[in-house]
């Protein structure tokens, strides 16, 4: 296989990944690294570098769609980004010092968790809580539009959310994924943000977090242009098409199917990591 043939195949694979990622809401980045390492035998460090690029591309590209809905809270997003970016730089620095087999195993575990989380139904809206001292001090409480007029909400447990965001950032830097699932947990479960606010704010944060990791990957020489090119272009087109096909109804069956694919890839990653082949 020469470079041209490989670029074409990687482009097609990334197109599919981006398409399925947008359809299921899991994000395309999550299966790019397993695809590149397991199917194409790419070194996991190059694979993670290329995936980070695709994460930034989809996050920035989707911003307009999220802004239109008017749910994102820029203050919460910016404040938590202190934690995610510092976490991302930390995680990316750790990644450079760990054996690649460990990274493969951790990647597999996070994949299994994401597959599991994606098959569960959306979270219940936790309802309005009372005001919180720190959140009030940081002026995080806000409101979002509903058919029956704006609804205000209070933010809870800022320190817990901030700590979880550091972990989400570190995982993102370590494994090169957006770790949207972890970010949503921090905002939904800990900070009790309404679901729509947490998902849109999470998209805002994913690109900034991935950029912090990607800076470290670039400077360490993990960003290969020949590989990142087909991945970025494929995922970008795929997720654009995916968002066009299905905007509202995310098919439960498709999510389940994609969850199985992700789980199988996760087992392979763990197996290859344990046997020292990745």
């Amino acid at each position: 296989m020469n470079i041209f043939e490989m670029a074409l195949l990687v482009w097609l694979g990334s197109l599919m990944a981006g398409f399925l990622g947008a359809l299921t809401g899991l994000g395309g980045g999550i299966i790019i690294t397993p695809l590149l390492t397991l199917a194409f035998g790419v070194d996991i460090r190059y694979a993670i570098g290329a995936t980070l690029i695709s994460v930034i591309a989809t996050s920035s590209g989707a911003a307009a769609a999220y802004v239109k809905e008017g749910f994102s809270n820029i203050r919460i997003g910016m404040f938590l980004e202190i934690a995610t970016t510092i976490g991302a730089v930390t995680g990316a620095s750790i990644a450079a010092r760990l054996p690649t087999s460990w990274i493969a195993i951790m990647f597999g575990l996070v994949l299994i968790y994401s597959a599991y989380a994606s098959t569960r139904p959306s979270l219940l809206d936790s309802g309005n809580q009372g005001p919180d001292r720190i959140a009030t001090l940081l002026r995080m409480d806000s409101s979002f539009p509903t058919p029956s007029g704006p609804r205000s909400y209070h933010v809870r447990a800022v320190p817990a959310g901030f700590s979880l965001m550091f972990v989400a950032g570190a995982v993102s830097g370590l494994l090169g994924i957006g770790s949207g699932a972890l970010k949503v947990i921090a905002m939904d479960r800990a900070m009790r943000l309404p679901f729509k606010v947490s998902t849109t704010t999470s998209n805002f944060m994913i690109g900034v977090t991935a950029a912090a990791s990607a800076g470290v990957y670039l400077r360490r020489g993990y960003l290969d242009p020949g590989l990142a090119m087909p991945v970025m272009l494929g995922v970008l087109l795929g997720s654009f098409l995916g968002a066009r096909v299905l905007t509202e109804a995310k098919s439960q069956k498709l999510r389940f199917l994609f969850g199985i694919v992700v789980a199988v890839m996760a087992m392979e990653m763990i197996y290859h990591g344990l046997t020292g082949r990745l």
Binding site: F4, V42, A63, G215, P225, G226, M229
Partner: protein, 128 residues
């Protein structure tokens, strides 16, 4: 989000940011495509080396190396320049927030945005 600029509404500010990001992604994708074509024409028939990790040459690792290398119009440098533009879009978004909060005289969130911006610049220049 509270009102950021006295003359613009929140939605306008958000829309400007979204346009900025989309434009950045499109410009980056165009440059990467162009670089990809040049790269594939010149190296498409060689065999790939991605299974053995060697790390990129120093010119492809640093911002200054990429910027000077781009002038040689080599495919790999053009792609890397496109990737750099893409990397810069979230950075630009945070920089825009610093300015927006400054206009609003919101010192707290201007400081918060500045910290995030500093971490991003650190990771691109010295970090890791």
């Amino acid at each position: 989000m509270a009102r950021l600029f006295p003359i613009w509404s929140d939605e306008q500010v958000e829309t400007i940011i979204a346009r900025l990001l989309q434009t950045g992604v499109l410009v980056a994708a165009a440059i990467v495509t162009l670089g990809g074509i040049v790269f594939l024409i010149r190296h498409g028939l060689s065999s790939p080396h991605y299974s053995v990790f060697t790390g990129e040459p120093s010119g492809l690792r640093s911002v200054s190396g990429i910027l000077t290398g781009t002038l040689t119009l080599q495919g790999r440098y053009l792609i890397q320049f496109g990737l750099f533009i893409l990397l810069a879009t979230p950075v630009a978004r945070v920089a825009f927030a610093v300015v927006a909060f400054a206009f609003e005289r919101d010192r707290l969130y201007m400081g918060v945005s500045l910290i995030v911006l500093a971490v991003l610049v650190y990771s691109l220049t010295w970090g890791g």
